[in-house]
Symmetry: C2
Subunit: 259 residues, 2 copies
DNA sequence: TATTCCGATAGTGAC
DNA sequence: GTCACTATCGGAATGAG
């Protein structure tokens, strides 16, 4: 992504004009592309498409800031379209999580408070931040879910329902304020412990994810065994039913609790 | 030189205890060693030896600052011994310059205003600052002959003959003041032009030395030819003398001027 | 906060 | 200002038309 305007470029094209190595999917209002430098195991961008017939110009769609500075109703329509497609994307990511890793884990959906690249883009990425492309503090802090630079979609949507003065304050999106956040010391987004450099952070994040994977897989294994047991019980019950049709010992098995 | 006390260690040993890879020569009062990380084509250190019978302790010899803070007469004796051996060393370096490079160039003799290594050490180095070991700004500024951090021996000796108040001021050698000099922007010690980074500086210094070498060799060549011509003239004169003994056309040939 | 390249800068550990 | 190692920080170029 040497070109700061490449997203704007994509957003003005027809889906058929974009290679499948870039475009993952599309809707009438949005394009979903692979982030060229994924900062998590799964990382996509959803862009609002630039349409000649739309009342929103390419300049309105420059960024979250420019969008929120314009007509609020039209802004909300763009946000809703992005949100809708993010939710669809999440389901697809989850399917792929199970296929590749055997379990699901959370997904974050949000914007950067002070993006570098032109054209509004919604980040949809898995909650791990484990990636070779995660190379420096700015990368990391920009996706830390509690640090303030990463603006969760649901939080941004809530601004629309708040007091107009609050909306106005949040929508100002002062670059300086957000840029400063990127220089802060790093901490693990999961356990909160201080991380003094990138190598340490990256090892730690890998460990956190490995723990998460172990837990999830153990849970999946318990569930599988329980279901197997239930199945046996059912088939035994069926045999018993067949041989002793006047009794019914079948009972519902509750799903194991989260741990 | 991972050990900050290694010079003190050397200074307390007998010359016979030091390997020839470290010790170049010695006198009753001094040791001349090879700088382990030469910042010029020739770079030596002269250390005052620590002697049990001396009135100067190892602490007096800790640094130029500590030496000048003590008895002035004894300090002057140490300085004179260092100076005497530096002058001898210079002659030996010059001989080696001619042997290796075919010409001589200046040699700097002086102290660092704020040394890191313990035990007083006088730097004797050729005026080029061309060396693989010259790696950063601090290295360079610490030997720049006009920057202030490098204290030329003759200047330091002149303090002894100045007003006591001036001696006291200069002898204070405030570390903070000298350390600050090392952070200044770099400039060529020869032509004064600004040098914005080390690679640029090092190429430039190499060019300066190459020019100097060309000039010196051209000069040496002119001298050689002139001497040859003189020799021919002489031998012709001898022949003429032999054949015509009553005339004397021999005349002195002046050394060519510096350019 | 697009990446990448280059180089300066900063902290550490050395025995 | 000892070195060597690691990592961070800081500027500049970048590509396309």
């Amino acid at each position: 992504m040497a070109n700061l305007f490449i997203l704007r470029n994509y957003a003005q094209k027809l889906p058929s004009e974009l290679p499948s190595s870039i475009l993952f999917s599309h809707s009438s209002e949005t394009l979903t592309i692979y982030d060229a430098y994924p900062k998590s195991k799964f990382h996509f961008l959803i862009l609002p498409r630039v349409k000649p017939e739309s009342e929103l110009s390419v300049n309105d769609l420059e960024s979250l800031k420019s969008l929120l500075a314009g007509d609020k109703t039209r802004a909300k329509q763009v946000m809703d379209a992005l949100k809708e497609n993010a939710d669809i994307l999440c389901k697809e990511i989850e399917t792929e999580m199970v296929k590749r890793y055997g379990f699901k884990w959370p997904i974050w959906i949000g914007f950067h408070g002070a993006p570098s690249m032109h054209h509004l883009h919604l980040h949809v990425l898995s909650a791990d931040l484990c990636s070779e492309k995660m190379k420096n503090k700015k990368h990391y802090n920009s996706f830390h879910p509690k640090h303030g630079f990463f603006l969760h979609m649901d939080d941004v949507l809530s601004w629309f329902d708040a007091e107009p003065s609050y909306f106005k304050t949040m929508a100002a999106l002062e670059e300086k304020k957000y840029e400063a956040l990127l220089k802060d010391d790093m901490s693990c987004w999961k356990c909160g412990s201080a991380m003094k450099n990138m190598p340490t952070l990256k090892s730690h994040l890998q460990e956190e994810w490995d723990k998460e994977a172990s837990r999830a897989k153990a849970k999946a294994e318990r569930k599988r065994k329980l279901e197997e047991k239930q199945k046996n019980t059912e088939s035994r019950a069926q045999k018993e039913e067949a041989s002793d049709a006047h009794t019914d010992k079948k009972q519902k098995v509750s799903t194991p609790e989260n741990d």
